[in-house]
């Protein structure tokens, strides 16, 4: 299936979760902030949140700021 991550299409295996996706993308889950289809995903649910075909994800994190 295909999901969109930060505007880019990504192939995702069936059963892919937010957590496994982040790992595949080389993003330490630590401090990765995830929005799925416009809704924020609770960190505790990264592992339990299975992705679905067509999901749109935004992955963000803390950056330098004032």
């Amino acid at each position: 299936m295909t999901v969109t991550v930060n505007g880019r299409a990504q192939e995702a295996a069936p059963g892919e979760t937010v957590e496994t996706l982040l790992e595949r993308l080389g993003l330490a889950a630590r401090y990765a902030l995830v929005e799925r289809n416009g809704e924020p995903v609770e960190r505790e649910r990264y592992g339990a949140t299975a992705l679905e075909d067509g999901d749109t994800l935004v992955v963000a994190r803390p950056v330098a700021g004032g």
Binding site: R30, P62, G66
Partner: protein
């Protein structure tokens, strides 16, 4: 060493909050944060660039400092609320420095959208610290909707111009029901000390430290300046007077009548 600052029931020993932006390197940032002695540091929230995943800024922060995420990049209440929710869901603290800035030139906040977002976020359980133009009437409204503090700007972000809007900040301090944190535009420790002397509860400094020739030394200078100003506020400053008053007897060696 000073009396603690209390925001939303939390005691802070340092009345200096620093930003993490504009440093030449993460190491320079870290050293400055350590030298500043601050307990709260602000961070923004941004998209990860999947093509070049740098280290997270948070990996460079010293132990024991607490992150204060801001909503930088928001031009509307809706965008700010979205960032706040994402930050909290992802495990950042539920304290939020609320900034809604429609104008990229002067980076001044939007009073209407800020108030709207503040009410929404307080309702969702956030501890909200809004960045505002010094506006005593807006301050009252933000207090009324339950903000934990208000953060009036001294002058435009990054200008280093000091308390150009001192007059309305003085009014805010006089009538404050929640802490007043002077944010933006403080360019020198004397500015920070002045803000504390007039009764501000804390200050937030970023550019003046990050862009100094020696950020760690400047961070220390601001720490001292904030402590100087707070100490003076509590010690009871003299009134300014129009005329002179001698510190030495005027008689000298002359016989006194």
């Amino acid at each position: 060493m000073n009396d603690p600052l209390v925001i939303a029931g939390r005691e802070l020993r340092s009345r200096l909050i620093t930003g993490t932006g504009k440093y030449s390197s993460p190491e320079a940032m870290r050293d400055a944060v350590v030298a500043s002695g601050c307990e709260l540091v602000t961070v923004a929230v941004g998209r990860i660039d999947l093509d070049s995943v740098e280290e997270a800024i948070t990996d460079h922060l010293p132990e024991g400092v607490t992150l204060l995420p801001n909503t930088a990049g928001s031009a509307t209440a809706e965008e700010a609320v979205r960032i706040a929710r994402l930050a909290r869901a992802g495990g950042l603290p539920d304290w939020i420095k609320l900034e809604v800035i429609p104008d990229p030139r002067w980076l001044l906040p939007d009073p209407v959208e800020t108030l709207k977002a503040a009410a929404q976020l307080v309702g969702e359980g956030f501890t909200v610290l809004p960045y505002v133009l010094p506006d005593p009437v807006l301050q009252r409204k933000l207090e009324a909707v339950g903000c934990a503090a208000v953060m009036p700007l001294a002058s435009p972000i990054g200008s280093g111009s000091g308390l150009k809007l001192r007059h309305t900040i003085e009014i805010m301090v006089e009538q404050a029901e929640v802490p007043v944190v002077v944010d933006a535009g403080l360019g020198a420790p004397s500015h920070a000390a002045e803000a504390m002397e007039l009764g501000a509860d804390a200050v937030l400094v970023n550019t003046a430290i990050a862009r100094a020739d020696d950020p760690a030394a400047m961070a220390r200078a601001f720490r001292l300046g904030v402590e100087a100003g707070r100490t003076a506020r509590l010690a009871g400053l003299i009134e300014e007077r129009e005329t002179a008053e001698p510190s030495s007897p005027l008689g000298g060696l002359a016989a006194r009548p």
